[in-house]
Structures are given as structure tokens and as C-alpha cells.
């Protein structure tokens, strides 16, 4: 399949005219036709005639100077504002919303000549880790359609795994790129807070939200990040930090890299098969020249409370604009999970409780920042699990609100701190369910993370495996 290739392989092939954009896009729509309904990854599929006409146009326009993304199909988590194309955030509140402007990240991709083919299913407003908190039906894991794909960027992860798209832009606030990446066997990057503009991203938690690439390889993520990163005058929190040429920093050499293993992240509660796979990955890093360092990060237990007090507080405010007056349906259309988060946040900010909850959490956040700084001063990256269990059965997490939140235990401390993390496939369970791991680095260390990921993916082929569903006719 064309979509087994990396983006740079596709770009090279397109330039050499071995195949065309129309070919790639056609492949996408074939996959969508075959598996779209079953997997329910899409909320809005761009009309295929429109997409193919556009692909043809891109083929005609291609020169040696056009971007490597020129003519490459992609999907967006439906949290990204796309002018004239319905954007819902997977909520009935916005089921008919047609935006009047473009998100910066979307505009950059359009300017590069990439082709949007779908707006993807997700946990509404980012509220969830399984793409079940959606008004458009739960999305299914292509590796086992009785199970969830992860979330909240479930739709994008499915599309990449099921060869319906070459890449995607997801959004990570507490694991929402890493979680589905790990459960769908793809690569996803939670960037440093502020690395990529949030303008046009439907906000969940303003000081946690990050915009990031999802694709089959770390190399693809590097290419995408080069394009989308950078300061945006429309986003006051976007960073002026220089954007390196990430692809040029992919040496594949990780000799001497210190990989920290925080013991609290591998304690009780972590599925044994996942622990085993990550152990093997750690040994792999060692064999590639890296050094493993055991360390302790005792704030571990406070990760969930910090995330689940600040996040809902910010979301309770960010969702206040949905009053149905200028756009959207009424507030009674929010799902129970979303209403819960709004209520938690409203409570945590309310008079008499602000100090004990919101303020306390923001103080704990400072302590987390210090802890990560300390940990990352004795090593270059931290190796952690992404999910405590393999993909759950559909309905399992939604039945217990607290259990639902607890599933985020490994991915909720990085966002309050702002550090980047790369999620990589690193194995499978005995029942052939994907297992992922994450590499966490210092602020703006994406180049290092991507290089380690790239190096790892030269030595392993987990990321090349395809879900069985694709083999069936």
C-alpha cells in the first residue's frame, strides 16, 4: 500500500512521478469505504470528488520547490477550526457549526499543499481517554473493534493505523495524542507547551493544550513539526523559541543518551505485559548505546489531582462561550462526562474552595515543575508507560467516572509542567493489542525525542505492523 510509506517516501515518490496524489487519496477513500463505518473514526468525511479534484490540482502544481507535504492527505481531530467545513468537537452542541476562519495549524498545512480528507471523532471537548465521550458514536480500535481506540484523539489514530490517511494533527491536554497513539500502534508527539500555535484549537485546558503531529513514524512527526511549529501573533502563549530543522537532526545515533526510569511509574497498577514490553524497549535503548538510570519521582500520586483540578477549572471557563446565542445548540446538549468536568471546575474555582483546590493544584504544579527539572538534570529523557492497561472494552471506562479518570495516570503530569513527550509503539500483548511507551524530555527537546524515536524505529518494526482488519477483503 502507498500508505505504508513514510511521508518523505511519499514525497519522493510523488516528485519522481512513481505515483500521484490522486493515487494516494484514492487509497484513503478506498480504506474509508471499506472500514469507515465499522471503525467510526470520521465525523465529517470530505466529499471524495472534492478531495480528488484537489489532489489532481496538487499533482499539476507540483514543482521541486513545493513542500514534502504537497498533495499528501491528512485528517484533523475535530477540535480544529476549518473554515466552511463543519467542526463539532464531537459534541451535539456544535453539530451544525460551520466555522468562519481557519486554525493556524490548518492554514499552514493548506499553504504547504496538504489535502484535508476528514474531521475526526474524539472525546468531546477533549474530555476523555477513549473516544467514547462523543455524540457521534464510539470509535473502534482497528486492532480489535470491540475495544476502544483511546482518546481523546482516537479518530486520527485510527485513520493512520487503518491506512485512511498519511498523517493527522491531534491535540494533547493530558495524554490525548499519546494514549490513542499507544493503543492504535502509531507514533504521536505531545509537543512542548507553546511550540505550536493553539489559535483555532477548540480549547480544553488553556494552559495544558498542545497541538501535535500523529503519524506512523517519528521521522514523519519530525517533518510535520518543522512545518507547524513556530510563534504565531494570534497566540500570545506561542513560543518565540527557534524552530530547528527536526528532520536534519535525525542521526539515528543515541550513543551516550541517558534514559531515566522513574520507579513510581512502573509500580502497582501497570499491566504486566506493558511493563515487560517497556523493559525490553529499555534494554533495546541500552543495546543502542544509551545508559539507563533509575530514579524516583515521588510526586507521582499527585499527577491526577493536579490535572483534574486545573484542567476542569479551565474548561469550565472555556466552555462558557457555548450559550447557543451566536452559534451552537444549548448547554443541555453537553454529555454527562462534560457536564461533570464543568461542575468539577466550577466548584474548584468557586468562593470558599478556590484556595483548597485550584490554588493548591497550581502550587502542586510548581512542585511538579521542580521535580521534572530535577529528574531531567540527571538524565536526558524519561521513559514511562502511556496506558496502565491494554485497550479497554467499549463501555468499560464510561461506566465508572473515577476509573475513567484514573486511566490517565501516566500522561497527566507532563501537560501541567509543559514538557514534551513522544509516544512510540513498543510491542503487543499476547492478544495482539498494541503497547506504547513515552519518552519525556526537557522543554523544547523535541529534536532529541524524535531522534531517539527515529533510532528506535530503525532497530524495531513494531510501528510497521498493520491491524488485521486491513488484511480482510
Amino acid at each position: 500500500m502507498l500508505l505504508d510509506k513514510t511521508i518523505s517516501e511519499l514525497a519522493a515518490g510523488l516528485r519522481k512521478k512513481e505515483f500521484s496524489s490522486v493515487d494516494i487519496v484514492t487509497e484513503c477513500y478506498d480504506a474509508i469505504e471499506k472500514h469507515g463505518k465499522e471503525l467510526n473514526a470520521f465525523i465529517t468525511v470530505i466529499d471524495n470528488t472534492t478531495a480528488l479534484t484537489y489532489a489532481q490540482k496538487k499533482d499539476n502544481e507540483r514543482t521541486e520547490n513545493t513542500s514534502p507535504l504537497h498533495g499528501i492527505p491528512f485528517v484533523l481531530k475535530d477540535a480544529y477550526i476549518t473554515q466552511r467545513i463543519r467542526t463539532t468537537s464531537a459534541s451535539n452542541v456544535l453539530k451544525n457549526y460551520i466555522p468562519q476562519y481557519n486554525a493556524t495549524v490548518y492554514q499552514k498545512l493548506l499553504d504547504a499543499g496538504a489535502i484535508l480528507i476528514g474531521k475526526m471523532n474524539m472525546d468531546a471537548w477533549g474530555h476523555g481517554g477513549s473516544t467514547e465521550n462523543t455524540d457521534f458514536g464510539p470509535a473502534k480500535n482497528p486492532w480489535d473493534t470491540t475495544r476502544v481506540a483511546g482518546g481523546s484523539s482516537g479518530g486520527p489514530a485510527i485513520a493512520i493505523a487503518a491506512r485512511m490517511s498519511a498523517f493527522a494533527i491531534g491535540e494533547d491536554t493530558g495524554g490525548s495524542i499519546r494514549n490513542p497513539a499507544a493503543w492504535c500502534n502509531i507514533t504521536g508527539l505531545k509537543v512542548t507547551y507553546g511550540r505550536v500555535s493553539r489559535y483555532g484549537t477548540i480549547a480544553y485546558a488553556s494552559s495544558f493544550d498542545t497541538v501535535g503531529p500523529m503519524a506512523r513514524t517519528a521521522e514523519d512527526c519530525a517533518l510535520l513539526l518543522e512545518l507547524v511549529a513556530g510563534q504565531d501573533p494570534y497566540d500570545a502563549t506561542s513560543s518565540p523559541h527557534k524552530v530547528p530543522k527536526y528532520t536534519q537532526k535525525l542521526t539515528g545515533n543515541i550513543e551516550g543518551i541517558k534514559v531515566g526510569i522513574p520507579k513510581e511509574f512502573f509500580g502497582q497498577g501497570l499491566d504486566s505485559e506493558i511493563k515487560k514490553s517497556i523493559d525490553i524497549a529499555a534494554k533495546k535503548f541500552e543495546s543502542m548505546g544509551a545508559k539507563l538510570i533509575e530514579l524516583s519521582m515521588p510526586m507521582f500520586d499527585y499527577g491526577l489531582p493536579v490535572y483534574y483540578l486545573i484542567g476542569p477549572s479551565e474548561t469550565s471557563s472555556n466552555l462558557a462561550r457555548y450559550d447557543g446565542i451566536r452559534y451552537g445548540q444549548g448547554r443541555n446538549q453537553f454529555t454527562p462526562e462534560t457536564m461533570r468536568r464543568i461542575m468539577i471546575g466550577t466548584y474548584a474555582l468557586s468562593a470558599g474552595y478556590y484556595d483548597a483546590y485550584y490554588k493548591k493544584a497550581q502550587q502542586a504544579r510548581t512542585l511538579f515543575i521542580k521535580e521534572y527539572e530535577k529528574a531531567l538534570s540527571s538524565c536526558d529523557v524519561l521513559l514511562m508507560p502511556v496506558n496502565p492497561t491494554p485497550p479497554t472494552k467499549i463501555g468499560e471506562l464510561m461506566s465508572d467516572p473515577l476509573a475513567n479518570l484514573l486511566a490517565d495516570v501516566y500522561t497527566t503530569s507532563q501537560n501541567p509542567v509543559g514538557v514534551p513527550s513522544l509516544a512510540l509503539p513498543c510491542g503487543f500483548t499476547t492478544t495482539n493489542l498494541p503497547i506504547g511507551m513515552q519518552l519525556v524530555g526537557k522543554m523544547f527537546s523535541e529534536d532529541l525525542l524524535l531522534n531517539i524515536g527515529y533510532a528506535y524505529q530503525q532497530e524495531t518494526d513494531w510501528h510497521k505492523r498493520k491491524p488485521g482488519i486491513l488484511e480482510s477483503p
Partner: protein, 101 residues
């Protein structure tokens, strides 16, 4: 702070602040769920944060401004501004009469 048990009145008050209208059944359910979730999150009280300054932003940025110029290309036409509203009239958004002021 001991784990709080949310009453219906507690939840009603929060819902009012949050501009959410909930049925009695929903209120009951949410009261139980909030008790459970907030109960768990309350473990944060055990953390010693004496003298610790809050972090509300991690960028470390300061003084990010825009110059005082009109940005025509971002301005919406009236039609576009109103395009998603359920109820408009002569260029205005419309809501049921607001009684105050």
C-alpha cells in the same frame, strides 16, 4: 479537608454558577459522582505547599502584545458573524428579552 459529600443543594448551586440546567435525577447522580471524584482529588491536601508560589503559566513569557493597528483580514463581514446563529434580526443576534437593565 475531609472528603466532601455533595448534597443536591450544593450541586444546584454549582450548576447555577455553571449555567447548566439539570434534572433532579441528573443532580442526584452528579452529586454522587462529584463526591467520588472530588474525594479522590482531595488527596492533594496532603501535599505540603507552604511558601510555594502557584504556577498558572509554564511559558515564562512576559509582555506579549500586539501593536494598535486594525487587522482587516481577520474582521468578519456581518453575514459571516451571524452565519451560525439560530436567531437573528436586522443584523443583530436575538435572544429572549433579558429582564435586567
Amino acid at each position: 479537608m475531609a472528603a466532601k459529600k455533595f448534597t443536591i443543594d450544593d450541586v444546584k448551586h454549582i450548576a447555577q454558577l455553571a449555567n447548566l440546567v439539570l434534572s433532579d435525577e441528573q443532580l442526584q447522580k452528579i452529586a454522587e459522582q462529584l463526591s467520588s471524584v472530588i474525594g479522590y482529588m482531595s488527596k492533594i491536601q496532603a501535599l505540603d505547599t507552604k511558601g510555594v508560589v502557584e504556577t498558572s503559566q509554564v511559558t515564562g513569557l512576559e509582555n506579549v502584545f500586539r501593536e494598535d493597528v486594525v487587522d482587516e483580514k481577520r474582521m468578519l463581514s456581518q453575514e459571516s458573524a451571524l452565519s451560525n446563529a439560530k436567531n437573528t434580526h436586522s443584523g443583530y443576534f436575538v435572544v429572549d428579552a433579558v429582564l435586567e437593565e
